[in-house]
Amino acid sequence: MTAAELKPDLRKLIDARLDAIDRILVRSAISWTERRNIVSEVETQIFELLARRGQIPTQEDVLAVLDSLDPPESYLPEELRNSNVEPKVEPSSQNWSQLPGRTVRLAGKVGGVAVCVAVLVVANVTVIVIMVTSEGVIPWLVTLAGLAWLNYAGLRRFKAWSATRQGSLIEDLRHAVAEWLMPKNRAPAT
């Protein structure tokens, strides 16, 4: 019998026990490598015991084998067993990095462009309204030329500024807020 030959519902019973042991080991602050080794050993033992009971294990076999094992709590070190100490959760800057980077980058780009376009439209509309309300061709032409120059110069400056930046607007903002909230960690929020 191999692990792959076991019925899925029986496999779930075994996995539930292995998960329970892993959770207990997490509480005792054992490293991931050691946890994996311990849980692998328990899994191997379960299959050794099942194989001794016959070729095709039934639910009764699995339950009996699981029953013969030490309870998951017994993997907890003695000093933690009688206390209600919960695992210490370190404040982590990783929360910031859990945001999907691709989404943030896309939102940053779209947001940045949208803000620029909005500023440009508002400025142009304002100038055009002033032009329409004024009289005479010369002031029109002067204002129009000024507006064209402002747009050209503004776009050039924006292009130059964009080239010097490392990330998107939102990413920069995220870095700034993360550093402000968690100055000690200084972890890059990627």
């Binding site: 019998m1 191999t2 692990a3 054992i30 490293s31 490598t33 050691e34 946890r35 080794n37 311990i38 692998s40 050993e41 328990v42 899994e43 191997t44 033992q45 379960i46 299959f47 050794e48 099942l50 194989a51 001794r52 094992l69 030490d70 017994s74 993997y75 003695e78």
Partner: protein, 110 residues
């Protein structure tokens, strides 16, 4: 089981596991069965596997995996050079303590 017995055995488990691996390699459950049969020791998997994982971390044992007819691969443990040195130290320490404790307890008995 009384607390003092648990504590008493706890310190001996590492020594016993290493002693069990002194002559030949063995896989996890094999060690559990072997030590489970030792009168007075009666350790179970929840004691043995964490110690094996710790010994592997400390490089006192080397680990190799091999297919098992029963299912997932077995992990075979073998005492390394570091492990042999530590076992010798532990045995020396154990004999010294045993001698001292024997003297004390014999004095108490007489």
């Amino acid at each position: 089981m009384q607390q003092w017995i648990t504590q008493f055995r706890k310190g001996l488990v590492e020594l016993c596991i290493m002693a069990a691996l002194r002559d030949d390699e063995a896989y996890g459950y094999q060690i559990v069965e072997q030590l489970g049969r030792v009168a007075g020791l009666e350790v179970t998997e929840s004691t043995v596997y964490p110690v094996l994982a710790r010994l592997a971390r400390d490089r006192c044992v080397t680990v190799r995996t091999a297919p098992s007819p029963a299912g997932p691969p077995r992990r075979y443990y073998r005492l390394s050079e570091i492990g042999r040195r530590r076992l010798q130290e532990m045995i020396g320490h154990w004999q010294s303590i045993q001698h001292s404790v024997n003297q004390l307890t014999q004095g108490a008995l007489s």
